[in-house]
Symmetry: C2
Subunit: 317 residues, 2 copies
Amino acid sequence: MLANRHEERRLSPATVERIRKAVRDLGYMPNVAARRLRAHDPEVHHIELGILTSFEAPLFLVSRVLRQVQRMADARTGSGRDFSVSIAMFHAGRLREMAGLLNASRFNGVVITNTLPDDDAFLAATTLPYAVVVLGRRLANYSCVLDTPGEIGRRAAEILIKRGCRHLVVLTPALLTQSTAERADAFCTAARTQTGSEPARVVAAGFTPTQGADALRAHLGAGRCCDGLYAVTDGLALGAYQAIKDAGRKIPKDIAVVGVGDHEHADFFDPPLTCVGPSNETIVEEVVTQLFDLMNRRRVKPVETLVPPSVVMRASA
Amino acid sequence: MLANRHEERRLSPATVERIRKAVRDLGYMPNVAARRLRAHDPEVHHIELGILTSFEAPLFLVSRVLRQVQRMADARTGSGRDFSVSIAMFHAGRLREMAGLLNASRFNGVVITNTLPDDDAFLAATTLPYAVVVLGRRLANYSCVLDTPGEIGRRAAEILIKRGCRHLVVLTPALLTQSTAERADAFCTAARTQTGSEPARVVAAGFTPTQGADALRAHLGAGRCCDGLYAVTDGLALGAYQAIKDAGRKIPKDIAVVGVGDHEHADFFDPPLTCVGPSNETIVEEVVTQLFDLMNRRRVKPVETLVPPSVVMRASA
DNA sequence: GCTTGCACCTAAAACGTTTTAGCTTTTCCG
DNA sequence: CGGAAAAGCTAAAACGTTTTAGGTGCAAGC
């Protein structure tokens, strides 16, 4: 019903009310696609960008990507172009069910992240016919931006070993993504070759601090010795802090801790968390550049970008 | 170009490549609105829901709202309905510039939050012709869900006073939203009437822990006495922790701290943060219920819901 | 009684895409 | 070389909405 334009169309209040009542009675729900099609100015192309992430994953990196995408979009808006940017979520492992992905009727370009193996299989099987950048997974048919989990794990081990730690522990969630698994493996390999002994693997039920604390508490409680910890996620590191303090140990004197820097406030942990992990700044920059390059056809073949890790030494190791 | 259906249409590879080249050369960008209009099954109504927040604001509450909206949407999907849910961001104070809001060509229903006064003025002036729920602001022409900042501030003061604190401080950002301003005022009023003296107001440049730490450090450094602190935002509380510890004081022995519980990990702060603030669980539930009620026309007149504060006593006060 | 202006109604066009059907051309096979 | 199948081309219809244009009826003003 005339998106709110009854005034300039000089409809009488009675008619407006009559229409409104009919709308209510019929339970009418307008079709936004039709409205947009009709309403838009034929001169300007409307471009829809999306950042696709799973419900389960944290939004720290995603929101940084969104902000950067919007910044680029704002810079290019005007002169026949006009962008909408949004975050959409899928149930982990069920990306294929997301409406409008396959028939390209929802986005002109997307950044996809936090996928599970099922999602990766889906993506690998069908090349989506628009601009796609995958963050954190290697898929041959798409442009990907990846951290280097092997190097991350290795450098985390080095930091702890250089401090003199000899009894290492790696704290991981039960469901490993490709990246976290590789980080943990590389950490163990590096530790084994340099100290001669295999680090203990402590497995938490999930990603939350509570789950991390529970897992580590059980490990420490069993009397195992531990003087250096690598947590593959900052949330887990935060839980580990609590378990360590509860056990009466000091960070970093008794147990040094290294995290990955995927938490907004890692430098306000107590003590501030030393991090070896993907360089978020660079990753975001790279992802967004590639997305726009793809849309402008400046690039046609998919590329794979490896972003070297960033190391931030703070007080925890 | 035929959303990836060249195989079943039996186009020769040569033609496909020719078309692809033409597409590239022309810089063609498909119109998703047109595609959707054409592609969708006439039997099923597609409903588009959005959560609108400002770029500057944290996503903690927003992501909880999204998850809850999606849960309701999933439960109602099927039998002629089909939902898409997304987060869209506007530049704080410039909500009016967001494309498709005024002409209702983007969403069938929205939750709006983290608005600034300019945005509120815009909303108050034009009644958007679809389902709208405003979170955290009082606007007569929309359904609103609000916390009770007055009560929050008052109870925060009570907690500190009951502990025996007499030299109170309230830590706020420079740009106050309606809620944070009311919280701080109520805190001061309650403190004044119960202790007889006015709390000190410490103003941080912004919302980040760093800014909070800087502001409080300056205050403590100036030798002012302080034994109880209320931070109107958890981010600020986190910064305050650092400043307090740097000054060699203990929490809560020397300075007790109360936050608001808007941070995901407030119970993993060291010591865990006592919070008096909006009850996120209830707020999210209420917002989403109202959104769906509006869309189903179960409710027609806007309502205003006040959500009483939740108090979580932890170790910091 | 005639004009004027207002409120309302109706029909048709337009937005950009995909699908369908029908027709023409090319290719393949014996 | 004839015929069938494959591939290509073209035109038209459809998706749901808003806008435009044109028309009808009614009241007010001369």
